[in-house]
């Protein structure tokens, strides 16, 4: 009785649209409604699979996740170790580190774009003055992707930090003290005590970030709009472009069904893991 109203809402605005999108992916519907859409079977799917650009953006999407997430985890972990013992101002500094995580993605993207402007941006003019790299970072196919990844790392390593720090500070301190008494070296403590104890926390954080990375859109949209020459065309941007620039809604739906499947598979894994955590 209590659940029912929410279920109706969820059905109307989440499940039904997904089903509708699934239906679209089997038709030849375009953005402009020119005529009644025809059923075309799997041809959208086979077109997606044979589209080179799709594979290109899938590759970009994977490398985005492959570079950004481990680096975020690494930096976040190191900094969490740094904050493990109290020192003056540590609470203030910790809270300041949270700010980037919640900043509007659009603002983050635009700020990076401003900083990278060749003539007058903070980073752009700095790199120019030491005559390093190209004049325009975001217009260079090689570097645009790197800056997009950097932007993500900047924004999201504090997320990893917070999750790992929360995990670390909830560990019973006896473990580490006992290890210290036994003469365990610093790295031994890390590998033999901290890693095993934090494994589930870190798995959750990485899964959350992976699912989140599959929806990366606005930062990249405002930084590069997927360009130059599609060098930063991550999957959500690819889908957006197909649908709203080229009007191929049905085709884009087929590609988005693929993205949805990957996301749901990851979140199935995540939710199952958290269910198990609650049970034990």
């Amino acid at each position: 009785m209590f659940v029912f109203p929410a279920l109706i809402v969820i059905f109307a605005i989440s499940i039904y649209p997904v089903i509708f999108s699934l239906y679209l992916s089997f038709t030849d519907r375009t953005l402009l409604y020119l005529r009644a859409p025809k059923f075309v079977g799997f041809s959208n799917y086979s077109n997606v699979v044979s589209d080179k650009l799709f594979w290109h953006s899938l590759k970009l999407q994977l490398s985005f996740m492959l570079f950004a997430i481990p680096l975020e985890l690494f930096v976040g972990f190191l900094v969490a170790l740094l904050f493990l013992k109290d020192f003056p101002l540590c609470r203030l500094l910790r809270s300041l580190l949270m700010l980037p995580v919640f900043i509007l993605p659009v603002v983050s993207g635009l700020t990076w774009r401003l900083m990278l402007q060749p003539g007058y941006g903070l980073l752009g003019s700095f790199f120019n003055s030491i005559s390093l790299g190209p004049k325009s970072w975001l217009a260079d196919t090689k570097y645009a992707f790197v800056t997009v990844v950097l932007q993500d790392i900047w924004r999201m390593w504090p997320f990893m930090f917070m999750i790992i720090y929360a995990g670390l500070s909830s560990l019973p301190s006896e473990y580490l003290e006992a290890a210290q008494i036994d003469g365990a070296k610093f790295w031994q403590q890390i590998f033999h005590i901290i890693f095993p104890l934090l494994r589930s926390v870190m798995t959750m954080a990485v899964l959350l970030r992976m699912i989140d990375a599959l929806r990366v859109f606005s930062e990249v949209y405002v930084m590069t709009y997927g360009g130059p020459a599609n060098a930063t065309l991550l999957l959500p941007l690819y889908i957006h472009k197909q649908a709203f620039e080229f009007g191929k809604v049905a085709y884009a739906s087929a590609a988005s069904v693929f993205l949805l499947a990957v996301s749901l598979a990851l979140s199935f894994y995540l939710v199952r893991a958290s269910f198990r955590g609650e049970v034990s």
């Binding site: 809402v9 919640f102 903070l122 993205l259 979140s267």
Partner: protein, 270 residues
């Protein structure tokens, strides 16, 4: 021992300083004039509120700010209303189907926005919801509602069963048990859920980009539009962005205690 402490302090100070550079860049640039930003390089700084007055006089931006507030508030209200009831029901009444429903809802909050943006665009156009503030609020509810339900589950679960039993003995009906006893007891959780739902809607860009139009534009869209086609108005853009950041930072710093909980319930949107 003392030395190690100050070493940590210095390292962390440097780290935080570097980390906050981009935020400093937005805020300082918001106090510069557009022309000074691209004519005089990054280090010229003579603070002036000109960009703020330009932005606040801009009727487009004012409308967008109003729209953002309306969309975020109404999506938050709807999500909290339906979400808290559902969360209560899922935790307090033990039906077999509940486990499945919880599983489903936890998974649904992970749907990529772009997947929903396409059907929303077509459905909204058919329903006349395109370019309306209400349509955007509906779209935002699609991620806020499952989020609120997920976040509130542990809050409702942690309330002792005795309250419920005592109320039932006194003849309380299920709805007043929820409304008079559980809702107030879960108030901290509800505030957190409300605040995060507001924030996610406030920060949202993709739905606004696809589903809004001249009447229902939200502030992130207008801030991005300051880039223009010919001359980028970085000063006004930064001023608009800084205004957008005020509630974000207030919430982040004010609700620190709950942030980890909020984040691990999947409260992150690109």
């Amino acid at each position: 021992m003392k030395k190690a402490k100050s070493l940590r302090l210095i390292l962390c100070l440097i780290l935080v300083a570097i980390e906050l550079v981009p935020i400093g860049v937005v805020i300082t640039n918001s106090f510069k004039r557009d022309i000074d930003i691209w004519a005089r390089g990054p280090f010229y700084f003579k603070p002036t509120p000109k960009s703020y007055s330009a932005v606040l006089e801009n009727s487009d931006f004012r409308l967008a700010l109003k729209n953002s507030l309306i969309v975020a508030t109404s999506s938050m209200a709807v999500s909290v209303f339906f979400g808290s009831m559902a969360s209560f029901g899922l935790v307090r009444f033990r039906f077999r189907i509940n486990t499945f429903l919880i599983f489903l809802i936890l998974m649904l909050r992970m749907i990529p926005q772009i997947t929903l943006a396409l059907p929303f665009y077509i459905l909204f156009r058919n329903l006349g919801l395109k370019d309306t503030v209400m349509g955007l609020a509906v779209a935002h509810t699609s991620f806020n509602l499952p989020y609120v339900i997920a976040l509130l589950l542990p809050f409702f679960a942690s309330i002792p069963k005795e309250y419920e039993e005592a109320a039932r003995v006194d003849g309380c009906k299920p709805f007043s048990i929820y409304w008079r006893i559980f809702f107030p007891l879960a108030a901290p959780g509800i505030v957190v859920a409300a605040v995060f739902a507001f924030l996610m809607s406030w920060n949202e860009f993709l739905y606004a980009l696809v589903l809004s139009g001249p009447r229902s534009k939200t502030a992130p869209i207008v801030v991005n539009a300051f880039l223009g086609q010919y001359a980028p108005l970085w000063g006004q853009l930064s001023a608009g962005a800084t205004i957008m950041l005020i509630p974000v930072f207030a919430i982040t710093l004010g609700f620190q205690k709950y942030i980890i909980k909020g984040l691990s319930s999947g409260g992150l949107k690109g």
